[in-house]
């Protein structure tokens, strides 16, 4: 049991499962600033996660060398792996820091946890990166159902439970970016003007499929496929399948990529036949 802790060096009772873990954190004060590494040592209780450790560091930002530093900047909100905010590279792998339990990622006394910002997005400060490009991609693939406004016009289309199950699975994407971080084809693009010049990535492809599957959403299918036939589109995917392995929501990304690939081929052929 812990007594009311006040900071990272809190006193503990019954220290049976208390132990020390080091956090090596890649820090950077802002765009074009030098990168540095800092190490903090914390006493860990059962059930802690990376967020609770970053909170303790914020309250008492003193490094292992005894140097007073500043609280680490990072992004988080829900703390239950549903908002996607807190994604960072933990021990080499992109994942959510709220669901990264210390008991699992650093089980032993003296273990080290390494925290870095995602590398495929521009760093704002420390572990906080700018993922605007992912939201922009949703605009580019028109990831919405084009309804006739918010008036009362009765129910939407009826749907079989199996169809709902497919759409629901795709619709759980929390725009976290793990699939993009892991993808060998997806590149860092600092500048907005570069965003449509390289591979758009599995997240947006899968969302395009989601809306193509909806009866009303399918009205924009042609537009979506046109976009995804461009130089940043589905043909850029090298089929490395890293994306699907790292997606925390287990979204069937390779199925989505294959489905969109088929649709674009059909779309291209029918365009060719109709001479448009």
């Amino acid at each position: 049991m812990t007594v009311a802790t006040t900071n990272g060096t809190a006193k503990r009772t019954a220290a049976a499962n208390s132990r020390k873990v080091r956090f090596r954190i890649k820090r950077c004060d802002g765009p074009n600033k030098l990168v540095r590494w800092e190490t903090f040592e914390l006493t860990i209780a059962k059930g802690e996660n990376v967020i609770s450790c970053l909170q303790k560091i914020a309250a008492n930002p003193v490094t292992t060398e005894g140097k007073r530093s500043t609280p680490v900047v990072w992004d988080c909100s829900c703390l239950e792996e549903v908002c996607g905010s807190c994604t960072m590279v933990i021990n080499g792998q992109a994942r959510q820091s709220c669901s990264a339990l210390i008991d699992v990622i650093a089980p032993d006394d003296g273990d080290t946890v390494t925290l870095e910002p995602m590398s495929k997005f521009p760093v704002i400060r420390d572990l906080w990166v700018d993922r605007s490009r992912m939201f922009d991609a949703l605009k580019r693939v028109k990831a919405w159902v084009p309804i006739d406004g918010t008036y009362d016009l009765g129910a939407g289309p009826r749907e079989r439970p199996e169809e709902q199950a497919v759409r629901y699975a795709l619709s759980e994407c929390m725009t976290c970016g793990c699939c993009l971080e892991a993808c060998p084809q997806f590149e860092l693009a600092e500048d907005e003007s570069e965003w449509d010049k390289s591979f758009i990535g599995a997240q947006a492809l899968s969302q395009a499929r989601l809306f193509n599957l909806h009866e009303t959403g399918a009205q924009l299918k042609g537009d979506r496929l046109e976009t995804l036939m461009g130089p940043d589109g589905v043909s850029e995917c090298g089929n490395a399948q890293n994306c699907v392995k790292v997606c925390p929501k287990h979204i069937p990304l390779t199925e989505s990529i294959a489905a969109v690939g088929r649709s674009t081929t059909i779309h291209a052929i029918s365009k060719w036949f109709s001479g448009k």
Partner: protein
Amino acid sequence: MTQQQRVIVVGGGLAGLAGSARMAEAGLAVDLFSLVPVKRSHSVCAQGGINACNEVARQQGYSEYEHFDETIYGGDFLADQHPVLEMANWAPRIIDLLDRMGVPFNRTAEGYRDLRLFGGSLFKRTHFSGATTGQQLLYALDEQVRRLEADGAVTKYESWEFLRPILADGADGPRCVGIVAQDLRTMQIRAFRADAVVMATGGAGLVFGKSTNSVICTGAALARCYQAGAAYANPEMIQVHPTAVPGADKLRLMSESARGEGGRVWVPRKKGDSRPAREIPEAERLYFLEEKYPKYGNIVPRDIATREIFDICVNQHMGVDGGNQVYLDLTHKDPEYLTRKLGGIMDIYQKFVGVDPRHEPMKIFPGVHYSMGGLWTQYTAGSYAPSEPQPAHVSGTETACDAEIGRGMLPGAPNNMMTNIEGLYAFGEVNFAFHGANRLGANALLSCIFDGLFSGVGVANYIRDGAPSTAPAESIPQSVFDSAVGAESSRQKAITDTAIGGDHADETNPYIIAKEMGEEMTAGCTVVREEARLQKTLDRIAELRDRWSRMKLADGATWTNQSLSFARSVGDMLAVADAMASGAKARKESRGAHYRIDYPDRDDAKFMKTTFVTYDAGEGRARVEHREVRAELVAPRARTYGKVDKEEPAKAEAAAAGV
């Protein structure tokens, strides 16, 4: 006029997004502000579902009217009744709209929307999308607003923090003409003009340190309006959810849908029984909710379930393993069914606790969850005016009024959900309008979307026909905006200056001050309250405010300074905490979520009243008044939920017969 009329929406959860869509459709230019990309707003956490009368329930005897009656009864008769009636009448239309937007609601074999049971109702009237309903609704509205953004009708300011409303002199009192906000990356502080401002900033769970809320739910935005003169109503009404999983950084909710889908709450009958749950035979388990409330069983409303769990653990020391925890058991259900209906929360439990709740009962304890109170708002009553308040509605019998739009509130009235400051509105969890002293599960998502859709129209009418039609925000002198920016810049400088040198004692550390505030509020102002303890809480808050005024910041950066934003919020949260504890101390009765051991009964004569709190800037404290509740539609009755009290059957009977 050449200039397009503008509205600012602060907050991009369900309420802010629904409002943005509706107001953009009405032709207003919408500027939408949010701390996080709106798709990551706290609404994403909602799990269980959204209530509405539906055809199946209707044919079993349910109605919009009964939904209304249930909500009033669930809120222990503290809510003004007209807005609740209008919300219940709109509910089925809102579900239809979400359905058209493509929300993947769970389906029956025949392809209709599936329904589940939720607290405080005997009818299945909760629509859901697995156990991540809030996420699915938020995404649907986010997609519609992205579409409007692509069309140029909505401009988003994400990673911007609202710092204060800007007030100018209006015809009668101050009028809101814009906001001051800060870019959390560049730290630029700027004024934005608008003909009206809608606050949709959600709840204030972080005031209690750990809660089921997202970490951005600080209540600071509410506090900034309150300290600028907006009234704060029923701040003491804080919902503590019965079933959360305690964690190092937050309390993770196990949705009421777990009980709606058959989950049973129990402890071993024998105190200190240390056998694993599965080895304890049925007869040796105490299903205390089912025994006490045979009619509703595990789906009694939250305040009741919370107090019973608290009583079992804290007073009777019968918690599992002697600790503050009871079992929430779903292991009698088919694991495949659980994955389909409750996958989202099954995963959360498994991920964060490391145990599969399909095979082992979960261990849970109550946690702070929802703010029924919030910014005080007005409305114009609708056409339904019974000659006298009606008695309890009996399912299946004729309803006292039909579900026509406009029965409860007048559609399009400019004052619908306007605060006491002209031009400043409050939508969603940040207002106090619908849930009285206790919110029924799955009614929050409804009230948020209802506010946006219904009251968004009133905002557009206010801008078109009210003060902004003759004196648009564009015509207000620049000096008004400059001085508001100046005030925020000085407030910021006063805080960042403390980062230079200085000691680093806990005494003046904003993170420690916030932690102590959370611990104090949880201990003194949650499940059980009492005069002397509340006074101690108020004293502690005063002490923490003093310490905050001497606070030392650990980071003086001029770029992306999260510590500054946090520390500034802590000061505002202390103002909220003071209002909550002051409201609780002034309410000398027990009602809904507010339970006073020194005044255990409801006292309608003295306290069927809204707590109306204004900020006394001189004293820096809450000033508490009480105002009449508008209860012309349903007569108050005892709220027993058919409780069988072994010790006091006579008392419950008498209470049920009428207060």
